[in-house]
C-alpha cells in the first residue's frame, strides 16, 4: 500500500487541511507504513458479517418535542472569532 504525493494532496483537499511541503512528504511515507501494517484486516473472513457502527444496541432514540431553556445567543457567540451583531461573521463565499 503506497500512498502517492498526489493521493495525499487529494485527501488534504477533502479534509480542508493545509499542510507544508515537508508534511506532505512525511505523511505520504508514514501513512503508507501504517496502511501496510493494517492490510492484515483483509485476511479476516467477513462473508455475511454485518458492520458494527456502535456497541450498545440502542435504536431510534427519541425524546418529546418540548420547549426547554437553551444557551442565550450572547453566550453561544461568546467564542466567535468574528461576529457582527447576533451573527457569526464569515468570509465571502462568492467573490
Amino acid at each position: 500500500m503506497k500512498l502517492s504525493r498526489e493521493e495525499v494532496l487529494h485527501i488534504t483537499r477533502l479534509a480542508r487541511l493545509g499542510l507544508t511541503e515537508a508534511e506532505v512528504d512525511r505523511l505520504s511515507e508514514q501513512l503508507s507504513n501504517i496502511l501496510e501494517h493494517f492490510e492484515v484486516l483483509q485476511q479476516a473472513d467477513t462473508t455475511d458479517v454485518p458492520p458494527t457502527a456502535q456497541s450498545i444496541d440502542l435504536l431510534n432514540v427519541l425524546k418529546g418535542d418540548e420547549v426547554a431553556a437553551s444557551l442565550p445567543q450572547s453566550q453561544v457567540l461568546v467564542n466567535a472569532p468574528r461576529r457582527e451583531g447576533d451573527f457569526f461573521r464569515v468570509r465571502a463565499v462568492l467573490e
Binding site: L3, E7, V8, H10, I11, T12, L14, A15, R16, L17, G18, L19, T20, E23, L27, Q30, L31, N33, I34, L35, H37, F38, V40, L41, Q42, A44, T46, V49, P50, P51, T52, A53, Q54, S55, I56, L58, V61, K63, L71, Q75, V76, V78, N79, A80, P81, R82, F88, V90, R91, A92, V93, E95
Partner: protein
C-alpha cells in the same frame, strides 16, 4: 499536619470532613500547596483553579456544617481538559482551543458540582486525546512521577500523574482506546473505563463518538465506585447514553470472589510483551485464584490481532468527521491573514492542529473517501462485529477476562515519537475493549525495576460491579495500590 492530607483517599477524607476533624478549605489549601510545589517537575495541569477551588471549598464546608454532605463533598478533583467547564479554559491541549472558555458545563462536571466537589484544575493530555504519552500535547509533556524521564501514558496522562503524585485526590479521564487505563497502569493508580454509554458524553469534546467514554482515576477501587456513583446514568442530552438503571456501585465491594470464573486470553501474552509484565500479571491472577476465583488460563480470542487495525481505521474516521467543526468560524483558533474562505479554513487547520491530529484526520479521511470506503472503513466495521461476537462468546463462559493493561512498563519520553506505529502498539491490550464497548478497570499489580505494571480486568456490558468486586478483592489482599512514588 497539612502534608499528610495529600495522600487521603476520597473515603478517608470524607470521614474526616464529616467528623469535622478536617475542613474542605484546609484540605483544598494543602492540595493546592502540593500542586504548586510539584508542578515544576510533573507538569500535569493545564490550568490550576486556585480561586474557584477555595470558593467551592468554602461552600462545601457550609454544606457539611448543615449536615448535607455526600461522599464527594468538599474533596478536590482534577478534570481532564477535554471536558467543558463553564468559565474555565478547556484547551484539549491544542492550539486550536488554547483560548476556549466554554459557556456551559459537561454533564459529568455538573454532576460533580451538584455534589459539592472542589475543582482544582484541568489536566494535560495528548491533543484531542490522540496519543499514549501526553507528548502530543501542544502545551507541554507530563512527566511520570515514578521516574520523571518517562511518560505517564496517555491520553489522560495529566490526570493519572497528578493522582499518583498526590496533586489530586482523584481525577476524571476519558478513554477512546485505553486513555484512562493505560496511564492508570503507567502511574500505578486505579482507572475505570465504564461500558460505552454508561456515563454521559455531553460536554466531552468529541474524538471518536462510538468509542469515547468518561471514567474515574482514583487511588483505590472504593473511590472508583464512589465516583462512578456520581457520574453514571442516563442523560437526555447524550443520545447514546444508556437507559439501564445504575446500582449503588459500593454495594458490590465485598471481597468475596469465590466461584467467579475468570478467563485469561492467551493472545494478550504474546509478541512484544515485556517478560516482567507477563510474570507480574500471572502472579496477580494466581493471587485471585488463591482468593477463590476459578481461572481458565488458556482462553483464545483469535481475532485480537485485528483489533489495532480496526481501531486505527474507525477512530480516525470518526475523528476526521468530528474535527471538521474546527473551521475558524464558530470558536477556536482562526487564521485571519486571508480574505478567501477556503484558504482561511485550510490555514486555520494547518496552524491549529498538531502532527498527530493531522495524521489521524488524513488517515480517517482516506479510509472514508470514495474508492477506499469499502476496503477500509466498512471492512473495519465488519471485523469490529467479529471482535464483539468473540467477547460475547467468551462471556457466556467467564464472568471476567484478565490481561496486562499495557505490554510494557512506561517508556522514555521521546522514545516512540518518531514512529507512530510503535506508539499505537502501546494500546494493543486496551483497544479491543473499546471496540466491543465493554467496561474494564486497570489496577496496580506490581513493578519492574521500580516502574509500575497495571492489570486490566474486563467485564460484560454493564457489569461494572463484577470487575469492581474482583479489583476490590485484589486490593484487599495486596498493597501495590498503597505504594506511592517518592516525589
Amino acid at each position: 499536619m497539612t502534608t499528610n492530607h495529600n495522600r487521603l483517599t476520597i473515603h478517608e477524607a470524607h470521614k474526616l470532613l464529616k467528623s469535622k476533624e478536617l475542613s474542605s478549605v484546609e484540605l483544598t489549601k494543602a492540595t493546592l500547596e502540593r500542586i504548586h510545589n510539584l508542578e515544576p517537575k510533573v507538569h500535569a495541569f493545564t490550568t490550576i483553579t486556585d480561586e474557584l477551588a477555595l470558593r467551592q471549598a468554602q461552600k462545601a464546608d457550609e454544606f457539611i456544617a448543615a449536615g448535607n454532605s455526600n461522599p464527594l463533598t468538599g474533596i478536590p478533583v482534577l478534570v481532564k481538559d477535554n471536558m467543558c467547564t463553564k468559565g474555565i479554559l478547556t484547551t484539549c491541549s491544542s492550539k486550536m482551543l488554547e483560548n476556549f472558555v466554554p459557556p456551559y458545563d459537561a454533564t459529568v462536571v455538573e454532576r460533580l458540582n451538584g455534589r459539592g466537589a472542589v475543582i482544582i484544575g484541568k489536566s494535560n493530555m495528548d491533543e484531542f486525546a490522540m496519543g499514549s504519552s501526553t507528548e502530543n500535547s501542544a502545551l507541554f509533556t507530563t512527566h511520570n512521577p515514578w521516574e520523571l524521564s518517562r511518560v505517564p501514558g496517555g491520553s489522560s496522562g495529566g490526570s493519572a500523574a497528578a493522582v499518583a503524585a498526590g496533586e489530586a485526590i482523584y481525577a476524571l479521564g476519558s478513554d477512546t482506546g485505553g486513555s484512562i487505563r493505560q496511564p492508570a497502569g503507567f502511574c500505578s493508580v486505579t482507572g475505570l473505563k465504564p461500558t460505552y454509554g454508561r456515563v454521559s458524553r455531553y460536554g466531552l469534546v468529541a474524538f471518536a463518538s462510538s468509542l469515547d467514554q468518561i471514567g474515574p482515576l482514583t487511588q483505590d477501587v472504593t473511590d472508583c465506585a464512589l465516583v462512578l456513583n456520581a457520574i453514571a446514568g442516563y442523560d437526555t442530552r447524550d443520545s447514546t447514553s444508556a437507559p439501564q438503571p445504575t446500582p449503588d456501585y459500593t454495594q458490590c465491594l465485598t471481597a468475596d470472589i469465590k466461584g467467579l470464573k475468570i478467563g485469561v486470553p492467551k493472545e494478550y501474552f504474546v509478541e512484544g510483551i515485556q517478560p516482567e509484565v507477563a510474570a507480574a500479571i500471572r502472579a496477580a491472577i494466581t493471587r485471585l485464584e488463591e482468593l477463590g476465583a476459578s481461572i481458565e488460563w488458556e482462553v483464545s480470542l483469535a481475532h485480537t490481532p485485528y483489533a489495532l487495525a480496526v481501531y486505527y481505521i474507525i477512530a480516525p474516521s470518526e475523528a476526521s468527521a468530528n474535527l471538521a467543526r474546527y473551521d475558524g468560524v464558530k470558536y477556536g483558533f482562526s487564521y485571519s491573514d486571508t480574505k478567501n474562505m477556503w484558504q482561511a479554513m485550510e490555514k486555520t487547520r494547518e496552524h491549529g492542529f498538531g502532527a498527530e491530529v493531522k495524521r489521524r484526520i488524513m488517515l480517517g479521511t482516506y479510509a472514508l473517501s470514495a474508492g477506499y470506503y469499502d476496503a477500509w472503513y466498512l471492512k473495519a466495521q465488519k471485523v469490529r462485529t467479529l471482535i464483539r461476537r468473540e467477547f460475547d462468546q467468551a462471556f457466556t463462559k467467564y464472568d471476567a477476562l484478565i490481561t496486562p493493561t499495557s505490554p510494557t512498563v512506561p517508556f522514555k519520553i521521546g522514545e516512540k515519537m518518531d514512529d507512530p506505529l510503535q506508539m499505537y502498539l502501546s494500546d494493543v491490550c486496551t483497544i479491543p475493549v473499546n471496540i466491543a464497548g465493554l467496561p474494564a478497570i486497570s489496577i496496580p499489580a506490581g513493578f519492574a525495576d521500580g516502574l509500575p505494571i497495571g492489570m486490566q480486568i474486563i467485564g460484560k456490558p454493564f457489569a461494572e460491579e463484577t470487575i469492581l468486586k474482583i479489583a476490590y478483592a485484589f486490593q484487599q489482599a495486596t498493597d501495590w495500590h498503597m505504594r506511592k512514588p517518592n516525589i
